[in-house]
Amino acid sequence: MDFSVFFQPAFSGGGIYLDWVFSGIKWTLAVSIFAWIIAFSVGSALGMLRTTPLMILRAPAAAYVELFRNVPLLVQMFVWYFVLPEILPRAAGDWLKTQMPMPEVSNAILCLGFYTASRVAEQVRSGIQSIPRGQTDAALAMGLTLPQAYRHVLLPMAYRIVIPPLTSEFLTIFKNSSVALTIGVLELTAQARQISEYTYRTFEVFTVATVVYVLITLTVTVVMQRVEQKLRVPGYIGSAGK
């Protein structure tokens, strides 16, 4: 083990190999966080739609979830990057390929975001459906409209219930972001592979990459535990087994 490799001058672009690691971390964080924003908002909307009494809203949301969670992430990445621009009209396709800012990164964010949204949707749905039906009925009986019942009665409880599984999804998105390397995003794993290709110090490089991933996910875990504690409703959830 010789970690001095990170302080050797890099083959290209000036700087040292450690700079490549930091650049990789930057893209891993950027892809994951932006993808999570998409996943959380789209997933929440879909999860709610899947629990409404209206068939016309439930069906398309269910179709979305089944489509996006049943196709492998890698395949989706290729579809977004290689297939979509070819089936769109010529001008739109060319825009996606060359004019779009950072085509690889943008594609990776969209792909990862919409894929994870299908999983978040299921978590949110299970959260809402775990609330006794009587609460919805009571809310509606008190004169709340259906959107108001979601906003003030169902969702505040549902989100609290699903914080632990959502934390898992959030951790997974950081790890899944490494799939973006297949379409050319130089995130952490891609940079690690590149450095090991140039220096042949595979063990050192991947050890550092592993430690970085663990640090990122541990940080998220700790933050989410705090969030969970802060939002806990005393006497309702989160105390069983303690």
């Binding site: 083990m1 083959f11 290209s12 672009g13 290689f82 621009p85 070819e86 060319d94 390929k97 060359t98 085509p103 690889e104 390397l181 297949t182 050319g184 130089l186 891609a190 592979r193 590149q194 290709e197 042949y200 595979t202 063990f203 050890t207 592993t210 430690v211 663990v214 541990l218």
Partner: protein, 303 residues
């Protein structure tokens, strides 16, 4: 123990277990298992690629099959099995040193830097880095690439040659990595990148198999020298001798000319295209005087 320190303990244990494999006796391994494992590529046309039946074929694969014959004779095991394992530019060296293949018959440049990790049989082909572009892109020389997007196959000498050129001439090229030659070419075909730097022979091979070969131009001059060698594990002189002798025997008997003719001057699968590439003077000289010398760090035979 806190959660954090438990993680690090697991990590340390993992590192301690993962000690790199020591030098092995390849002949003994082949004898014990009864199998020779050959690494091949999927799109290094016409050296090592998959034909329409998804079988590995090519100039390099043919030469490797002669090496297998020599191993059979050496071990007196005529029924030795051959197992083909697909490798990429990025995986070839770890897979070889890890022991999952015994020789690599692909399109690997013999470089002095790689010789720190692996050994090479005498050079069996000479080529160098050029770029392939779409004619419609208007790229006529390397300097036209300024500020453009260029795709490269990760882990190739061509990647280094192109990056070094871009740095030296301050072209500010935007590089995107890709995992194999087929995918890199796809990026040029679909317009994601304007150029793909690769060994010129492979570029001609990719062009010949493109949907419309006349759409593409291969542009030089050579950015690097790329002598190809069959790769094997380092520090295994007994095995290297068997492999080297098999290659040199092909050169001495003149059989190499037949194999060359079959892949470079005749129609080849899958589309029956003839590359029309007569043997270069550089390769002729190497066949007369076989050598396993690699390129220097600058990408040239002599810096």
């Amino acid at each position: 123990m806190t959660r954090v320190s438990r993680y690090f303990l697991a990590l340390l244990v993992g590192c301690a277990i993962a000690v790199p494999a020591a030098a092995q006796d390849t002949l003994k391994k082949i004898k014990d298992t009864g199998v020779v494992k050959i690494g091949h590529r999927d799109a290094s046309i016409p050296l090592s690629y998959l034909n329409d039946k998804q079988q590995p074929v090519g100039y390099g694969v043919d030469i490797c099959m002669r090496i297998v014959d020599a191993i059979k004779a050496e071990l007196k095991m005529p029924k030795l099995k051959v197992e083909f394992v697909p490798v990429t530019s990025q995986t070839r060296i770890p897979i070889l040193t890890g022991g999952n293949i015994d020789i690599e018959c692909g399109s690997t440049t013999n470089s002095m830097e790689r010789q720190k990790q692996v050994a090479f049989a005498p050079t069996y082909f000479m080529t160098g880095t050029k770029i392939i572009v779409k004619k419609s892109s208007g790229i006529k020389s390397y300097d036209n690439l300024k500020g453009k997007t260029v795709v490269f196959t990760s882990g190739t000498t061509n990647e280094r040659a192109m990056k070094a050129y871009s740095d030296e001439k301050k072209l500010g090229i935007n590089f995107i990595p890709s995992k194999d030659h087929a995918e890199s070419f796809l990026a040029v075909e679909t317009g994601r990148a304007v150029a793909f730097p690769m060994d010129d022979v492979l570029l001609y091979g990719l062009r010949a198999n493109a949907k419309k070969p006349s759409d593409y131009d291969v542009i030089g001059p050579f950015l690097s020298d790329d002598p190809y060698g069959i790769m094997m594990r380092k520090d295994d002189p007994h095995f290297k001798k068997v492999v080297d002798n098999a290659v040199i025997a092909l050169y001495k008997s003149g059989e190499i000319n037949k194999i060359y003719h079959k892949w470079f001057e005749s129609p080849i699968p899958p589309k029956g295209i003839n590359l029309h590439m007569p043997m270069s003077d550089g390769l002729k000289a190497l066949i007369k005087n076989p050598s396993d010398r690699g390129v220097e760090a600058c990408g040239r035979m002599k810096c």
